[in-house]
């Protein structure tokens, strides 16, 4: 009994992409309609009963959708030759670098911790609670400490921000990684023992490959968290060049150009979406063809 390859033909994959694109566009159009609809209806309500709405429908609080969209192609500042989209793209690239470094550090640390906790139940019991407690510390409180450390050593701000991002990303990797490393069935472990395979050979030939379906969801979460961590890190460190600083700047100048802050937030969301998409793509490539055990 030989089943067809998973994922279907190239044609049907293409059709799925087109469908996804159309759905995303439709969702965006729907959200825009809601936004503008709220502004119109809200304006009528505001005229009759002022101050009853939670969010004012005025153009300062809620700029028009087309103004937000238009701001992307307007110059960053009066007289500047660079348009906002390019400036945001550069800032996103800067943040992506920090986030990527943070993701890498977090993944290595998370996987390392998972392997250590697998190796020794003693370490598992000692480290487990601390790993959980680590995530209850607010990142915003932690960030200035890390940045200060960075400035007193050779590390510098970029690494500091990456470390802040790593602080968020290591957690899902460690937790899911450990669950994945423990996922092989007793018979699979007995099989490895019957081959007199060493602990490390069992790790690489069985436990790590078996952990991959657990790790990829963690990677997806970690990827988006790394962007959050990088932006929070930039804001609390006041580092120039990244989206965090851009958001901070436009928040400060909100009254003169509210649409720019919205544009910057959209850029941050797009960056998160991008890294999530990359993790998704990596998962599809790595696990391609393996199917599910039936």
């Amino acid at each position: 009994m030989v089943a067809a390859a998973p994922g279907g033909s190239a044609e049907s994959v293409g059709r799925r992409w087109v469908q996804t694109g159309l759905l995303v566009a439709a969702a965006l159009a729907f959200a825009s309609l809601l936004w503008e609809g709220y502004k119109i209806v809200g304006g009528l309500i505001e005229d009759r009963w002022p101050d009853v709405l939670p969010v004012g429908p005025d153009d300062l609080t809620m700029p028009h959708v087309w103004e937000i969209a238009g701001s992307f192609i307007e110059p960053v500042q009066r007289g500047s030759s660079e348009i906002l989209a390019v400036s945001l793209f550069k800032a996103a690239g800067f943040t992506l670098l920090e986030a990527g470094l943070g993701f890498l550090i977090g993944t290595v640390v998370g996987l390392g911790l998972a392997v250590l906790m697998l190796r020794s139940t003693w370490l598992d019991r000692a480290l487990g609670p601390w790993i959980n407690i680590s995530q209850t510390v607010p990142l915003i409180a932690l960030a200035p400490i890390v940045v200060t450390w960075g400035r007193t050593t050779f590390l510098g701000d970029t690494v500091s921000v990456a470390l802040i991002a790593a602080y968020l990303t290591f957690f899902p990797v460690a937790v899911n990684g450990l669950a994945g490393l423990k996922s092989p069935a007793p018979e699979e472990l007995e099989l490895m023992r019957s081959y007199a395979a060493t602990w490390s050979k069992t790790l690489f030939a069985l436990r790590l490959p078996a952990a991959r379906p657990y790790l990829f969801p963690a990677f997806k979460l970690a990827a988006t968290l790394s962007v959050v961590g990088a932006i929070v890190g930039e804001i609390s460190a006041g580092i120039r060049g990244g989206l965090g600083r851009v958001i901070l700047d436009y928040a400060g100048r909100y009254t003169t150009g509210p649409e720019k802050l919205y544009a910057a937030v959209i850029a941050a969301a797009l960056l998160g979406l991008f890294v999530f998409g990359m993790a998704n793509l990596a998962e599809a490539r790595v696990l391609r063809g393996e199917g599910r055990e039936s």
Partner: protein, 264 residues
Amino acid sequence: MTMLTPVPAISIQGVGKTFNPDSDEQVVALDGIDLDVEATEFVSLIGPSGCGKSTLLRLIADLVTPTAGTIEVFGKSAHQARLDRDYGMAFQSAGLFSWRKVARNIELPLELMGWSKADREARSAEMLELVQLPEFGNHYPWQLSGGMQQRVAIARALSFKPRLLLMDEPFGALDEMTREHMQNELLELVSEVGTTVVFITHSISEATFLSNRVVVLSPRPGRIHDIIDVPLGDHRTEDTREEETYFKCATEVREALRHVGASP
């Protein structure tokens, strides 16, 4: 047939296994087991659940250590035999690694033993021929039926040509037709390679058809109740299943099982 071999393939003497000794949940899984298995012999272990047949197999495999007695495999300790990769193992679930293609699953033990890539590929191709799946090396396990997966698992267990094959209900999850077919194939395979086999099963017909001897175990604590010789010769075919001796031996096994107080 075994006079040429000075030592038996497996020698079990006074073996007992107690789980959680010195505690309230102490379980005596096996007690006073004496059993010799000659080289190239096919021995089945049968008995009601809780009779410790799985534990006995794992003791031979050195996956579990006995609390009493000694086990020798090819004249050395079970532990040394495991380190020397003297046996291959197959379980009820084929236990193929889903991320490895079929050929690479067969090559797994060879990889762990440090064989070169060329040698591994040559051997896995040879094994795929042997289990009649020559064109499936490049498939993933999920693309194969249960019977085919089990054949791959057997090919993997035999890939490094171990002298001993330990099987824990390998055909337990297969339908009756596939099962009988696999039994024929297994006999051909092990007689070709000259492998000693210890085989756990719940099926009286399977034990009778495959074995030179059927060991019937009784439960709680697991003890050897009876050992039934099956003199059906070394060349068994579909017709063997209709021979008088076959029925006579199957009846003996059934009666022994009834005596130990449970359906198998």
